[in-house]
Subunit: 234 residues, 2 copies
């Protein structure tokens, strides 16, 4: 195989939602890099792919990146990680970089991609698309994201109320990401707009703790989680 970085989107959590191509390229890679948010906790990405890995033949590397809203303070961490990945490729190796969901939609990989383009634009990067947790959340909630002429908006729930309200009014389907920190505020806004009955809260799709709440009033503090979203479907 040509030495390169291969970003593999491994889907939302169920190891069976990995693509055939992703599974093959992870098996064939010389180096498999998995980002973890906390070195003491087991990595979600790692648990999805662990049955494909061969610790004897492959070099398995974990890089630690805290999951936090503001990744700007981590730029040097990402740069160091990109330099290490580039080094493997310059040694003639293929590096599979594991990322949950799809590499081009709110993924951890995009921080690595940015640094690779900046520091090593000569290194080939292949993107293997994956199933996004948004698609699987919609299926679990029973809410199609879009049909025929409908409009879909996907945005963080952390925007200010006026912006959110306008998007909620103008679009047919709205996916609010990162709701865990602003859940109470969003619930109130949806109530005010008469959309609370059309909203579903989906938590940890395809992972331990997966849950779907068709009634937002039943969601308690304990039900909130970083990997969660609200889908509003008119």
């Amino acid at each position: 195989m040509q030495p390169r970085v291969i970003a593999v989107g491994v889907g939302p959590g169920d190891p069976e939602l990995l693509t055939l191509k992703g599974a093959r390229l992870i098996r064939e890679a010389d180096v498999v890099v998995t980002p973890v948010s906390d070195p003491k906790k087991s990595s979600i990405a790692q648990s999805i792919v662990k049955q494909l890995l061969d610790p004897v033949r492959q070099q398995l590397v974990t890089h630690v990146f805290p999951m936090k809203k503001d990744q700007s303070g981590l730029e040097e961490d990402w740069a160091a990680s990109a330099r290490e990945v580039a080094e493997y490729v310059l040694q003639g190796k293929t590096v599979a970089f594991i990322t949950i969901g799809d590499p081009f939609l709110y993924s951890t990989f995009l921080y690595m991609y940015h640094q690779l383009q900046k520091l090593h634009p000569e290194i080939p990067v292949e993107i293997v698309s994956g199933v996004s947790s948004i698609n699987t959340a919609a299926a679990l909630a029973g809410l199609p994201l879009g049909l025929s002429d409908e409009r879909l908006a996907i945005l963080p729930a952390t925007y200010e109320e006026g912006d959110l309200a306008r998007t909620l009014e103008e679009f047919d389907t709205i996916v609010l990401m990162k709701v865990h920190r602003v859940f109470g505020r969003i619930r109130l806004l949806l109530e005010k707009l008469g959309l609370k009955d059309k909203a579903v809260y989906v938590r940890r799709v395809g992972l331990p703790g997966e849950a779907v709440f068709h009634d937002l009033d039943l969601v308690t503090e304990d039900d909130l989680n970083y990997l969660s979203m609200i889908i509003v479907k008119k």
Copy 2:
């Protein structure tokens, strides 16, 4: 297996972008239904899955549905198709319904789903998410759909100019679907908004005729296709 309808999203075109779960469930199904747009042409969905099918053991069914903007005239066709699919399930069979991309995002399956819910709400429907062509198009174009706090809008390009302009101004990434009939108008609008240089036209992702145009001025009438989109990334 429990008798049911299984909607399998088979990804944008590359047979290797099918999920492990989708491949397994297609192999295990008693009946495999593929929608085709024209009985004289070969079906895209069929070509993606053909290596998984066993014509001796499995019942392979094709249903014809013209690809057209307005599907409302086809309601009776979809109802008849849903009744046939329901009949298989009532006979104790598992039916895999093949759909390009993801079943819950602008898919053919959603018409079938609507009829099944209306006519046979008792029949279990399982959704197997797939890779959407939007994700793969973004990867091909080298344009991430969303990162950190960015906002993403996905909508048909057929909306009127005022609506499109507002969405193009307010969002960070905009995916315009169904551009083939209104391409000239959209190119003019993007030029007017100063966004033409930030737009990429992607045609037939993962299929014969796949192409990416980073310069919209190089797109001619012959390059336009039903399976195409413009991605605008600021």
